[in-house]
Symmetry: C2
Subunit: 204 residues, 2 copies
């Protein structure tokens, strides 16, 4: 078993243990020792593969981002119509099933962490939202081109608003204010509002 454990594989194993703990007991419970136990390795091993705890946190965070991105891709699937793509993107973020609940929860934990240590994460995770918002805005503009959305809407503003709304809805679900279904209902309601069938003879 000690034969060439493939550095990367070990790192993945440990980082995912961290994420597992963060999702269930919160990030503050993810001590080095707890991660080691969860991953089934010794404390020294965790220290070896990730010299410092910050290193471990950053690496795990990057993997979390990859997981979310993969989930989004999966939800988008082969959808090509802008409305479907937009719906898929936004719905995939909402904590409706166990996976998304786990991801959202962990993301929030990291968010709280970055608020306490404002400089720790430079743009490791800060660039993502802007990219996503830009992509979303482009999809909305495409929908405008094809007549699905009123052309007078500001795509950038709408994208920002939708993303913020989904984010807020996720928080409310995690906070127990409503469940995933209700959150999804709010989202789809607003998407229906946005993609309203334009009345014949001009917009209302």
């Amino acid at each position: 078993m000690t034969t060439k454990p493939d550095h990367e594989e070990r790192r993945r194993q440990i980082a995912e243990a961290l994420l597992r703990i963060a999702a269930t007991d919160g990030l503050k419970s993810a001590s080095m020792r707890a991660v080691a136990t969860e991953a089934g390795v010794s404390l020294r091993l965790v220290q070896y593969y990730f010299t410092t705890k910050e290193g471990l946190l950053l690496d795990a965070f990057a993997r979390l981002g990859t997981q979310l991105q993969a989930r989004m891709q999966r939800w988008i699937g082969d959808a090509r119509a802008p409305r479907e793509v937009v719906t898929a993107i936004l719905s995939s973020i909402l904590p409706t099933d166990e996976e998304s609940r786990r991801i959202t929860r962990t993301y929030t934990a990291y968010y709280a962490l970055v608020l306490d240590d404002p400089e720790v994460m430079g743009r490791t995770g800060a660039g993502q939202p802007d990219l996503l918002e830009g992509f979303l805005a482009r999809q909305l503009r495409a929908a405008q081109e094809s007549g699905g959305i009123d052309r007078e809407r500001d795509a950038g503003m709408t994208a920002a608003g939708l993303l913020a709304m989904v984010n807020g809805l996720g928080s409310s679900v995690l906070g127990g204010q409503r469940d995933g279904r209700a959150a999804l209902a709010v989202l789809t309601h607003h998407l229906d509002e946005l993609f309203r069938p334009s009345a014949p003879g001009g917009r209302l």
Copy 2:
């Protein structure tokens, strides 16, 4: 000075010290000792007035809620028209000035805390959002009555969406993705979108 320090006054002094620390250095930096130092009292005093740390956290949280409510009342002022009330409520939450930034930041810290200890806060802070959402929905319905908003809109859904959006915008501001002005711009854009009977006039 040792004469009847008025229990309540002392508690306020200490709890506000906790909030001050939470707003600047994060909740995790708000140790008993740090709070004591910030409040200018001895550690024993903090222990005396709030037996346990959880007691202190809960008390401070209640005061934070009061502060936010007071701010909202102040922003609403003497506004009576539904649109103005709605705008005031939502804008007051957004981290645009130092006070709201402090409040939002601290609220977020508590939110992260409650995610780790799901049972600690029963409904101490869980009832508030629902009440606010109900109030907001009622204002929206009033706006529909007076013709400010399309009568076919679902007021409940809209209220939930707006609140979630403001919440998400606040997070993005705290995360450094945009500043308070930009967040306010997104909000007002959506409010303009909502409150338009049929007249597409010039925008500001």
